[in-house]
C-alpha cells in the first residue's frame, strides 16, 4: 500500500487520539498504582488526609501480612534479646513481638495448588474433547457444545446451593480436591471452546500424512497435533489459571479453612480498628502481580480467550 492511502489517519488525528488514549490509560492505572503504593506505606501514612503521594517506603505492610503479632509490656520488650532483622525491628517499634506466621502463606499456596490442579485437569480433558469435536463427526455436536458453554454461564451462587449439599454428603467441603474438581468443571467449557478453535486451524493433512506413514490415530494425535497446538494449549491454560486464581463466589461459600484460597482471605486481613490497609494492599499486590505478568504474555490471544474463541485476531 502507498504511504498516502486515503484511509491512513492524518498526523494530527494520530496525535489527538494517542493523547486521549494515553490519558484514559493513566487514569485507569491510578487505582492499581495506589494498591502497590499503599503496600509500602505505614498505617498512619495510608490513612492520612490528604492522601500521600510522596512517602517514606517501608515493608511494614508485608511484615504484617506474613506475621501475627502480640503486644508485650515495655519491661518484657526490654528483656528481649536485640531484634534480628528488619521485620523484628519494625514490629517492636510498636511495642509488639512477632508471635508466628500468618495464614496468608497457606492461603496463597491453596490458590496455587487449586489453580494449577484445576488448570491441568481442564486443559488435559479439554484438549481431548476439543480434538474429538474438531476432527470426528459426533452426533448432536452443536447441542453438546452449546451445553458445554452454557454450563459456564450459570450464576455461581445458584450452582453453589446443590454443590454445597452434594459436597457435604461426599465429604468434599473445604477440600482441595473438591475445589479442583469444581473449578475444572467451570473451566472445561472455556478450554474445549478455545482449543477447538486452535485445533480447527491445524491442517488435517498433517495427521493424514502421519496415518499413512503407519501412525495410529492416537500417535498422530500426540506426535503431530499436540506440538502444533502448543501455543493454543499454553494460552488456554493461562486463561483457566487466571479464572481459578480470581474466583471468589464458590471459594467463599464452599471453603472456610483448609482449602480457602486467597481472594476470600485477603479482605479479612484485620488490623487495629478495621482493615489493615497496608497489609491488605501488600497481599493484593502479591496476588495480582502474577496475573499482570500473564496478561502481558497473553496479549496476542486475549481477544480469543474472552470471546470463547469466536474473535480470532
Amino acid at each position: 500500500m502507498s504511504a498516502h492511502s486515503i484511509t491512513e489517519p492524518s498526523a494530527t488525528t494520530k496525535w489527538i487520539s494517542g493523547g486521549l488514549v494515553v490519558a484514559y490509560a493513566v487514569v485507569t492505572l491510578i487505582p492499581l498504582l495506589w494498591i502497590v503504593a499503599t503496600g509500602f506505606k505505614t498505617p498512619a501514612d495510608a490513612i492520612s488526609y490528604p492522601p500521600k503521594v510522596v512517602f517514606d517506603p517501608t515493608i511494614e505492610g508485608y511484615v504484617n501480612l506474613f506475621t501475627t503479632r502480640t503486644r508485650v509490656t515495655p519491661e518484657q520488650l526490654e528483656s528481649l534479646p536485640p531484634p534480628e532483622g528488619i521485620a523484628e525491628e519494625i514490629v517492636r517499634s510498636y511495642g509488639m513481638v512477632i508471635a508466628g506466621p500468618s495464614r496468608f502463606g497457606e492461603r496463597f499456596m491453596n490458590s496455587v495448588v487449586i489453580g494449577f490442579g484445576s488448570t491441568f485437569l481442564s486443559v488435559f480433558l479439554g484438549t481431548l474433547a476439543a480434538y474429538a469435536f474438531s476432527r470426528f463427526k459426533i452426533p448432536l455436536s452443536d447441542d453438546l457444545l452449546f451445553f458445554i458453554l452454557s454450563t459456564r454461564m450459570m450464576p455461581p451462587i445458584a450452582v453453589a446451593i446443590p454443590i454445597f449439599l452434594m459436597y457435604r454428603q461426599l465429604g468434599l467441603s473445604d477440600t482441595h480436591l473438591g475445589m479442583i474438581l469444581l473449578y475444572t468443571a467451570v473451566n472445561i467449557s472455556l478450554a474445549v471452546w478455545l482449543l477447538k478453535g486452535f485445533i480447527d486451524e491445524i491442517p488435517r493433512e498433517y495427521e493424514e500424512a502421519a496415518l499413512i506413514d503407519g501412525y495410529t490415530r492416537f500417535q498422530a494425535f500426540y506426535k503431530v497435533v499436540l506440538p502444533q497446538a502448543a501455543t493454543g494449549i499454553a494460552s488456554t491454560a493461562i486463561f483457566c489459571l487466571i479464572f481459578a486464581w480470581n474466583e471468589y463466589a464458590f471459594a467463599v461459600l464452599l471453603t472456610s479453612g483448609t482449602a480457602q484460597t486467597a481472594p476470600p482471605f485477603i479482605p479479612t486481613i484485620i488490623g487495629v480498628g478495621g482493615q489493615d490497609w497496608p497489609a491488605v494492599a501488600a497481599g493484593a499486590t502479591l496476588f495480582l502481580l502474577p496475573v499482570l505478568i500473564f496478561t502481558v504474555l497473553l496479549r496476542k490471544h486475549l481477544l480469543r480467550g474472552i470471546t470463547f474463541g469466536a474473535v480470532r485476531k
Partner: protein, 315 residues
C-alpha cells in the same frame, strides 16, 4: 475422500501392520476423548441442576437435617414472583446492568475508535488499558472500598480537589443515592476494556477498500461512520453487550465486596439476595426456586449469545 486414501493405503499393508495403523477406531477414540468431559459436567453441573429443580418444589432447609421435608408444589415460585422485595432487587440489578452497559459501550467504543487510528505505541497502551479486567474482582473490589472512604479515600479527595465539595461530606458507598452509582463506576473501570477489545476487533475486520470506495463516492466522514463503521461493528458490539449483560445479571463478587448489598438493600443485586436466602437464612427450597428462575433467564440469554457468537464467527 480422505478415508478412501487411508483405506487404500491400509489394503496394501499386511494384516499385522494394518491393525496397528487403525488402532482404535475413530469412533471409539471420539467417545473416549469426549466422555470424561461430559461425565464431569454431568456430575458437577447437570446432576446438581436437576437436584435444584427438585428442591425448588419443597420446603427443605439445609441447616436442619432432621426436619421432615414437605412437597410444596409451585408455592416457592409463587412467593418469589409476587414478592415486592425481590422485585426491588431485580430493579437494582437492572439499574446496575443498564448503566454499566451504557457506559462501557460508549467509552469502550470510543477508545477502540481512537486506538484504531494506529498512532505510535497503540499496542502498548492497549495492553495497559486491559489490565484491570484480568484482576480478581473480589480483591480489587475490596481495595476500592478504601479508595471510596469518606475521610481518607482517594476518590473523595479528587472530588474535593476538582469540585470543592468537602471530601467528608459524602460517602460513595454509604449513601442511598450514591451507592448504586459507585458500583457502576467500579464495574465500568474494570470491564470497559472488554468492550473496547471486541469493538477493536470489529473495527479491524472492516477492509480498507470499503472506505476507499466511499471516499471515491465523496461520502463525508460523518456519513462513512454511520453507514460503514457502525453497521460493521454492530455484530461485535452485540456480542460484547450480551456477554456483559449475562455477567452483570449474575454479578456477585465485586459488588458484595464493595457494598455487601447495602446501604439498606439498594445495591442488593439478585445474586447477593440469593446468597442471603440460601446461605444465611438457609431457606434452601425457596432459594432453589429463586436459582431456577435465574438459571432459566441466563440459559435464554446464553442461547441468544451463542447465536450472536456464530454470526461473528461467520465474518
Amino acid at each position: 475422500m480422505t478415508n478412501s486414501v487411508i483405506t487404500a493405503a491400509a489394503e496394501k499393508t499386511p494384516p499385522s501392520v494394518a491393525r496397528r495403523v487403525r488402532g482404535l477406531s475413530d469412533r471409539a477414540i471420539a467417545w473416549i476423548f469426549v466422555a470424561p468431559t461430559i461425565f464431569l459436567l454431568l456430575a458437577i453441573n447437570i446432576f446438581p441442576l436437576i437436584w435444584t429443580v427438585r428442591l425448588s418444589f419443597t420446603d427443605y432447609r439445609a441447616n436442619r437435617l432432621n426436619r421432615e421435608v414437605e412437597w410444596v408444589g409451585l408455592r416457592n415460585y409463587e412467593r418469589i414472583l409476587t414478592d415486592d422485595g425481590i422485585w426491588m432487587n431485580m430493579q437494582a440489578t437492572a439499574h446496575f446492568l443498564v448503566w454499566t452497559i451504557v457506559f462501557q459501550v460508549l467509552i469502550g467504543f470510543a477508545l477502540a475508535y481512537l486506538i484504531n487510528k494506529k498512532f505510535k505505541g497503540n499496542a502498548l497502551w492497549t495492553t495497559i488499558i486491559v489490565l484491570p479486567m484480568m484482576l480478581s474482582p473480589a480483591v480489587v473490589g475490596n481495595f476500592w472500598t478504601f479508595l471510596y472512604q469518606p475521610q481518607i479515600g482517594l476518590i473523595n479527595y479528587m472530588v474535593e480537589f476538582f469540585t470543592g465539595i468537602p471530601a467528608s461530606s459524602f460517602s460513595m458507598l454509604g449513601s442511598v443515592e450514591l451507592a448504586p452509582w459507585s458500583i457502576v463506576i467500579v464495574d465500568t473501570w474494570m470491564w470497559t476494556p472488554f468492550v473496547m477489545l471486541i469493538c477493536l476487533a470489529g473495527l479491524r475486520s472492516i477492509p480498507d477498500y470499503i472506505y476507499e470506495a466511499a471516499e471515491i463516492d465523496r461520502a463525508s466522514k460523518w456519513r462513512q461512520f454511520w453507514t460503514i463503521t457502525v453497521p460493521m461493528v454492530l455484530p461485535f458490539l452485540m456480542l460484547a453487550v450480551l456477554f456483559r449483560g449475562i455477567e452483570n445479571f449474575k454479578m456477585f463478587d465485586l459488588v458484595v465486596q464493595l457494598t455487601g448489598g447495602g446501604p439498606g438493600s439498594v445495591t442488593e443485586l439478585a445474586s447477593i439476595n440469593l446468597k442471603r436466602e440460601a446461605f444465611e437464612k438457609w431457606r434452601t427450597g425457596y432459594s432453589s426456586a429463586y436459582a431456577v428462575i435465574l438459571f432459566v433467564t441466563i440459559f435464554g440469554l446464553a442461547s441468544i449469545y451463542v447465536k450472536a457468537l456464530n454470526k461473528v464467527k461467520a465474518r
